[in-house]
């Protein structure tokens, strides 16, 4: 008796984006084996195209109810739609950013399909409703990230970051699995939907073990989300990894991990509420405080963005803590807050990393002093960076402000004002270091020092210094562009980067000024079933 049931399942509608990205990944991998020579950046372009196709598929599935696959190991529902779309958007932006690597800092071409496979894992984390599938997705994303961080083997910091990330990630996975094993042992099922009916029974019957399972799962995900006190790897890894990969870790993998956390905690423990989610509130508060204060003394911009992303993860965790103290009919509001903040966070963080990448290449430095005089050299980049940084800090008219405002409003509504106050106070602290960047951006170049720096950079790269050199048009080099940048011309920015930064600026401002473009589609979604 042939079992044809397996063939007649809604594979395409539930995991269409995942299939598209996986196929794109294998195609790019094979093409990479075949074409070994020349400039292989077209592979990244092809990958971006694959991600776009997947995005179309994900949009087609938006809001089409819910559908389970193979006894609900994978689900199409509102959560998976929202998180899939966001993951694919950030994957597209990150791939655009990798397109700009060239010359001496070129990444190995293998990174393109590693990113795609990582995206497959992230999509699995967003769509799966089974502990096994969720965990396999998490590992797929993690293993791809470990390799991506260490991919610049000549750089000792890159390899150090990779090793650190591998070890911390492995510990996180082990703790997560330990927590899951307790929950599985109590309930006898790994299916999140079945577990959701048993959450209350588990908590009343076996309180100690349930709390331990909850905490271990939260801590395991905390390693991946770099929540304090499990965040120490973050600055080192972000600093060591290529900038595009740092932005991949900061946005895509965090979004996927938040999606998975939502599935784990809210689905499994939805009726037990109360004391469990209080723990999430404590971790959120510590994360916001430590993340922001640790960022204060940072001079290295990538490390600062690392600590900043720790703090942002703290803000995003606040709504998770509110599930305990709210009624079921308030939950869609919390889901909206989480989704909105993650959308805003994705645009502003990738934008900030993109500009950081341009500045890093021009000045060969990631110290914040490299920003000095940016406004003189390129008003457009300076304004774009201001938008991103103000949004990260939470200035009105930007997406970051509204995201924080919604979360703050939630804390007020759901009687957890202390979390709202911590959020507000730490945001004020964050203004200090973000404004520090802006001061440097709009500060004029000290005249004597500039020439000196230009000469040094050019000499190091072995290129002649021409005072009247035209805009760098070709691969002629980093030196040429740096020389232009230093002597008051424009930074060499490829059209792709302009498009990327423009997209991020539009995303940040549009969400900040007309939030309805995202809130309306979110509002029409049916979160429960």
């Amino acid at each position: 008796m042939a079992n044809l049931d397996m063939l007649h399942q809604p594979y395409w509608s539930t995991m269409g984006p995942m299939i598209v990205v996986a196929v794109a990944g294998f195609v790019v991998m094979i093409l990479e084996f075949v074409f070994r020579r020349g400039d292989r950046r077209w592979l990244a372009a092809l990958s971006a195209l694959g991600v776009l196709v997947a995005l179309v598929v994900a949009f087609a599935n938006w809001g089409t109810g819910h559908q389970g696959l193979l006894q609900n190991t994978v689900m199409l529902d509102s959560f998976s739609s929202v998180f899939s779309v966001l993951i694919l958007i950030s994957a597209f932006l990150v791939l655009l950013l990798t397109l700009d690597y060239r010359g001496r800092e070129r990444l190995p071409a293998e990174h393109t399909y590693l990113i795609l496979f990582g995206v497959v894992g992230a999509l699995a984390m967003a769509t799966a409703t089974d502990l096994v599938t969720l965990y396999v997705g998490l590992e797929l994303l993690s293993v791809a990230s470990y390799v991506l961080v260490a991919v610049r083997k000549r750089s000792i910091r890159s390899v150090e970051g990779g090793i650190k990330y591998l070890l911390m990630g492995a510990i996180g996975s082990a703790v997560l699995l330990y927590g899951m094993s307790f929950i599985y042992g109590l309930a006898g099922t790994t299916n999140v939907l079945q577990l959701s009916t048993q959450g209350a029974v588990m908590l009343s019957g076996y309180p100690a073990i349930t709390v331990i399972g909850f905490l271990f799962m939260l801590i395991g995900m905390g390693f991946k989300l770099s929540l304090v006190p499990f965040h120490m790897w973050t600055p080192d890894v972000y600093d060591g990894a290529p900038t595009a990969i740092s932005s991949f870790l900061a946005t895509l993998s965090k979004v996927a991990a938040f999606g998975m956390l939502l599935r784990l905690l809210v689905f499994i423990f939805n009726q037990s509420t109360g004391p469990l989610f209080y723990w999430a509130g404590i971790i959120a508060a510590i994360t916001m405080i430590v993340g922001n204060f640790a960022a204060l003394p940072q001079r290295n911009m990538k490390r600062l963005l690392g600590f900043s992303s720790v703090a942002q993860a703290g803000y995003t965790l606040v709504p998770f803590a509110l599930f305990g103290s709210s009624q079921m009919n308030q939950w869609p509001g919390l889901f909206d807050s989480i989704s909105f903040y993650l959308f805003a966070y994705t645009f502003m963080t990738i934008g900030a990393f993109a500009i950081l990448h341009i500045v890093e290449r021009a000045k060969q430095s990631v110290e914040s002093d490299a920003l000095v005089g940016l406004y003189r050299q390129s008003p457009w980049l300076a304004v774009a960076l201001s938008v991103f940084v103000l949004s990260l800090a939470g200035m009105p008219l930007t997406a970051g402000f509204l995201g924080k405002f919604y979360i703050f409003a939630d804390t007020v509504h759901m009687h957890a004002l202390w979390l709202g106050i911590v959020l507000f106070a730490t945001s004020v602290v964050s203004f200090y270091y973000y404004i520090g960047w802006l001061r440097k951006v709009f500060q004029p170049l000290p005249t004597g020092a500039a020439e000196w720096a230009v000469a040094e950079v050019a000499a190091a790269a072995g290129a002649p210094v021409g005072p009247g050199q035209g805009p760098a048009r070709s691969e002629a080099g980093v030196a040429g562009s740096a020389a232009d940048g230093g002597s008051g011309g424009s930074l060499a920015v490829s059209p792709v980067m302009h498009v990327l930064i423009a997209l991020c600026v539009i995303g940040t401002l549009a969400l900040g000024i007309v939030p309805a473009i995202l809130l309306h589609p979110l509002g029409t979604l049916q979160w429960f079933y």
Partner: protein, 173 residues
């Protein structure tokens, strides 16, 4: 009073496994550590057999005790087989970690001991009359097909990643 032999065997196995684990932590030479971790893996496999999970036990021996231990040995022999850790010193960090570990173990032990675990009697058959491997196979290729396929992608990523990181690349300018 009759002696419950499985219980006696369990205590013997548990003792041996714990000994191996403690030895592994106290050895300073990497190659001895690799040997003792093999002992821990075999001990775990024996516990699985005692629990009636034959398939997991065999898989544990094949994969962990066999493949992984041997792989670690090869890695050590091919790289730096004289490597030894500096002797343990009781500085603040080590003391704090030890206290933390003991506390965690106490909390876990108390929680596990105080819980009246769910479970049927010895006659409960969750396999529906089939043997373990058959049920595992059915689950793997029916309900868990998608994670199974994702694991194959995971293996590709791990393989490619290992090659990328290990190959001696001439940085193409």
């Amino acid at each position: 009073m009759s002696i419950s032999w499985p219980l006696v065997i369990f205590y013997v196995i548990a003792l041996l496994t714990l000994c191996c684990a403690v030895l592994m932590l106290s050895f300073r030479k990497v190659i001895y550590m690799a040997l003792t971790i093999g002992g821990v893996f075999v001990g775990c496999a024996a516990v699985y057999f005692l629990l009636g999970a034959d398939f997991v036990g065999v898989a544990q021996i094949l994969i962990y005790a066999g493949a992984i231990t041997i792989l670690i040995m090869f890695a050590i022999m091919l790289t730096n087989h004289e490597a030894a850790e500096p002797p343990l010193s009781w500085n603040l960090k080590n003391v704090a970690s030890a206290v933390g570990c003991v506390l965690l173990a106490v909390v876990l032990l108390l929680a596990v001991r105080s819980t009246n675990w769910p479970g049927g009697g010895a006659t409960t058959d969750i396999n529906g009359g089939n043997t373990n491997p058959i049920v595992i196979g059915l689950m793997l290729f029916k309900q868990y097909t998608i994670p199974f396929e994702l694991v194959s992608v995971l293996l590709i990523v791990a393989l490619v990643g290992a090659v990328i990181l290990a190959q001696d690349r001439k940085e193409d300018e």
